[in-house]
Structures are given as structure tokens and as C-alpha cells.
């Protein structure tokens, strides 16, 4: 009984907010271009569903590709710099610079470099830049988190550097890597959307472009519908990564 109530609570709260919104819009005669009632947004969502779904898929696939590239690049970099302290000293400040630079600030430059005909490359690149850091920093922390007594054991048995990395440090880093990927997945979606805004034109017709296009035409209901799709997509992506993390951790711990 309590479980049902707990599950129903957020649904009920959302329904309450939507009802208040609907009633307020009707009672105060708010113009639809300014704030459409949720019923109008729902209608826009249904009417434009094929376009919105396609746009969502475009944005999602950009985020997914970016996550995969960022994952490979970040883990490779982290393993490489773990091999030598000097490499670590050389690379880390640069990685921090990438982390603190807002993606909108680099977007125009990356768009120029990728060329006018390939805005999708720029968008993937920008999403990769955003998703890189959480995986990288998780990997760097994780590679140092191995049990010091296990490290001594590897010393004792004369383990080589690759043996130490692949049999001890990388497996020890798994919980940190899972967490890093979860955070990076959310950031990859944000990165993809922000980059699309930066690209501006209709070169990549993802969700951001839907919002921009609807905004230009003052179709506020379609804007909010696109936002809702974006929200659902973000939550879904996060939920998938969270499930992967849970399963991964259970496998890693052995229970």
C-alpha cells in the first residue's frame, strides 16, 4: 500500500500542477502564443509527434555517439597518463581547461573548423568535449583507488606494467567508471542540445532546432512539446545508464 502511494505521489503532483496551469490559462484568458494551456501542448505533441520523435532520435544518436567516443578517449587518456607521472603532470591541466570552458563559447570555433557542410560533426565534437571530463576524472581517480595491499602483492610477484594496469588498476576503477559514464550520459545530451543551438541553422534537425524553429514561428505550444520530449528523453537515457551502473556494480562486487 505504502509502495503504491510513494509511486503515485510524483504522478499526482504533476497532474495537480498541470490542472492548475490549465485552469489558470482558461480563467485568465492568457494568449496562447504567450502561455498555451497543457491541453494545447498535448495537442501539439500529438500533431507533431512524427517530426518530434525523429528530431529526438537525431539528438539522442548524437549524444550516444558522443558518449561512446568520449568514453574511449577518456579511458585511453587516463590509462596512458597513469603509466608515467610526467605525462600526468603534462596532461591534467589541459583536461581541466576543457572542463571549465563553457561549450557555447567553443561552439562557433568548432563550427568553423568542421566546415559549413558538416554541422553534425561539430555537434558531436562539442558533445564529446562535454562528456569527456566526468569519465576521465572517474578513470583517473579509479586507477589510483586499487587496494594498496593488492598493489604490494603485484610488487611481490613482479607484475609488469601492463599486468598492473589491466589486472589490477582498471578492474579496481570499474565503480568509478560506471559513475563517470552515468554523469557523462546526461552531459552528452545537454552538450548535443547546446551545440545544436550554437549551430543555429537547420543543418541538424534535432530537438534544439525544433525549439528554435517553433520559437521563430511563435508556436509556443510546439516549443513546450519539444521541451517535454527532451525531458522524457533525458530521464530515459539517465535511467538506462543507472540500470547499467546497478547491474555492473552487482557484477563487480559479486553480489
Amino acid at each position: 500500500m505504502r509502495g503504491i502511494v510513494e509511486k503515485a505521489a510524483p504522478v499526482a503532483f504533476t497532474a495537480l500542477l498541470l490542472a492548475a496551469w490549465e485552469i489558470a490559462c482558461r480563467a485568465m484568458h492568457v494568449p496562447a502564443y504567450f502561455l498555451p494551456p497543457p491541453s494545447a501542448v498535448g495537442r501539439a505533441l500529438v500533431d507533431n509527434f512524427p517530426t518530434l520523435a525523429q528530431a529526438a532520435w537525431r539528438t539522442f544518436s548524437v549524444a550516444l555517439v558522443a558518449l561512446v567516443i568520449a568514453s574511449i578517449a577518456a579511458q585511453l587518456t587516463a590509462v596512458l597518463i597513469s603509466l608515467h607521472p610526467l605525462l600526468d603532470r603534462a596532461v591534467r591541466p589541459l583536461a581541466s581547461v576543457i572542463q571549465v570552458t563553457p561549450v557555447v563559447a567553443i561552439a562557433p570555433l568548432v563550427l568553423i573548423w568542421s566546415g559549413i557542410d558538416h554541422p553534425e560533426r561539430a555537434i558531436v565534437t562539442l558533445a564529446v568535449l562535454v562528456a569527456f571530463f566526468p569519465i576521465f576524472s572517474g578513470a583517473v581517480t579509479g586507477l589510483r583507488a586499487a587496494d594498496p595491499d593488492l598493489e604490494r602483492l603485484f610488487d611481490l610477484y613482479g607484475a609488469s606494467r601492463p599486468q598492473r594496469v589491466f589486472r589490477l588498476r582498471l578492474p579496481s576503477a570499474v565503480p568509478f567508471l560506471l559513475e563517470g559514464h552515468k554523469v557523462a550520459a546526461g552531459l552528452a545530451v545537454i552538450g548535443a542540445v547546446v551545440a545544436e543551438f550554437g549551430a543555429g541553422s537547420g543543418g541538424v534537425r534535432g530537438l534544439a532546432w525544433q525549439i528554435l524553429d517553433a520559437g521563430n514561428k511563435l508556436q509556443t505550444d510546439r516549443m513546450i512539446a519539444a521541451l517535454a520530449v527532451l525531458g522524457v528523453m533525458g530521464v530515459g537515457f539517465h535511467a538506462i545508464l543507472e540500470a547499467i551502473e546497478r547491474v555492473g556494480l552487482r557484477w563487480w562486487r559479486g553480489r
Binding site: 602483492l153 611481490l156 570499474v174 553480489r255
Partner: protein, 246 residues
Amino acid sequence: MSVAALKEVEVDYPRRGRALGPFSLTLAPGEIIALVGPSGCGKSTAMRLLAGLEAPSRGEVVRTPGRGETAVVFQAPTLAPWLSARANAALPLELAGVRGEAAAKRADAALARVGLAGAETSRPAQLSGGMAMRVSLARALVTEPKLLLLDEPFAALDEITRRALADDVLQLWSASKPAIVFVTHNVEEAVYMASRVVVMTPGPGRLAGEVAVTGPAPRPHGFRATAEFRATAERVSDLLAQACGR
């Protein structure tokens, strides 16, 4: 002939100062030595010297340098949580380049020797504290070491488990007779397991005295109740009290 030896070794740490010595210890083949001393006397440092994990500031460490000749069991089981009991026990072999199948076979044999036949595929998280410690022992024994170093191996276990493991270690020792050095805070455990108890002074640790333990090994039932055992334990306790200046 000795398996390993510390000759007038001293260990200085930056900031903390002298941790050990001058201290000497010679290990005959097949000998079981208990290192007893107050906390911070450098027992664990002496173990790390014998394992070759650390070098002395002064003095000389003599040891057999071969891979797998020396094995260490730490205070905690120190198992890799992502590996099965079998893979954990096989780790020293795989690091030495033994092929997977052969390594697994020898790991299974080592697990069977410590009484864990049937638990090969279990993960450390599925094992009790005592069983995890046995996996750790199997991993140490898998290379057939000549020198086995046990750093307070039973400290985290309950009394019944630690007594059972003490008997098991002696039983395992009688099969291949490696030299054993083990560190403990527990005087009775030291006398029960060792053929020679080495008492150390408070840090920096020096030799406070030695007590030889006579009697059959593995210990017969009721050994703890014999007058000889009690007298020896008293001698070790007295030496320890003297060393601590009380």
C-alpha cells in the same frame, strides 16, 4: 643455510624517524617464527623487508629473489572483489605467465588444501571472513613458497575461527614445510603456532628476547592446557612486559 635473514637492519622514514632496528633475524628452512611486540615496534616493517617490498636504510637483507619463493598474507584477505576464489588464488601464477588452464588447476588444488573445494566460483563477497582468509592463504600457497609471511593474519577473525585457522596453517605447513614468519599481538597464538617466539621492544624495534617452543607440530589436542604451554606463554608475557618497561 638460511631461507632469509635480516642483518643489523635499520629503517628510517622521513619525518617519522627510526621505525626499526638495529635488528637481526635468521630463518632456518621450515622454521616457524612468531614476531611479538607492542604496536608500532616495526614488526610489519620487518615483514616488508623480508618480502623485499622495502629496502633497509642500513644493514643487509638476505632473501631468495625468485618469483613466488616468498608469499605474503595480509591482515585483511586482500582479495580482488571482481574475481572468483579460483581466479584470486591463481593470480600469482598468472602474473608469472602460467597459462590459464594450468593455473586454474593449481589454484583449485590450493583451494582444496585450505578446505575450500566447491567454493572455486564464489566471489569474495559471498564468503565469510574466515573463508576469505583461506582463499588468501590458498593464493599464498599456490606458488609453493619457501618463505611464508603472515602479517597478523587472524586479527580480524573471531576466536573460534582463528583457532581453527591456526591449526589449519600448521597442518598445511607440515605438508611442504615452508619457513613461516608471522606477526601477532596475541601471546598464546604466538606460542601455539611458533617454534621460536621473537619478542621486540617498543619502536624502533630491537630484539628483546627469544623463547624456543618445544612440542610436536601440528599441535595435539589440548596443547593449550599443558603446563609446558602455560609456562612458555608466561615467559613470553614476562619478556614483553620487561621490554615495555613494566
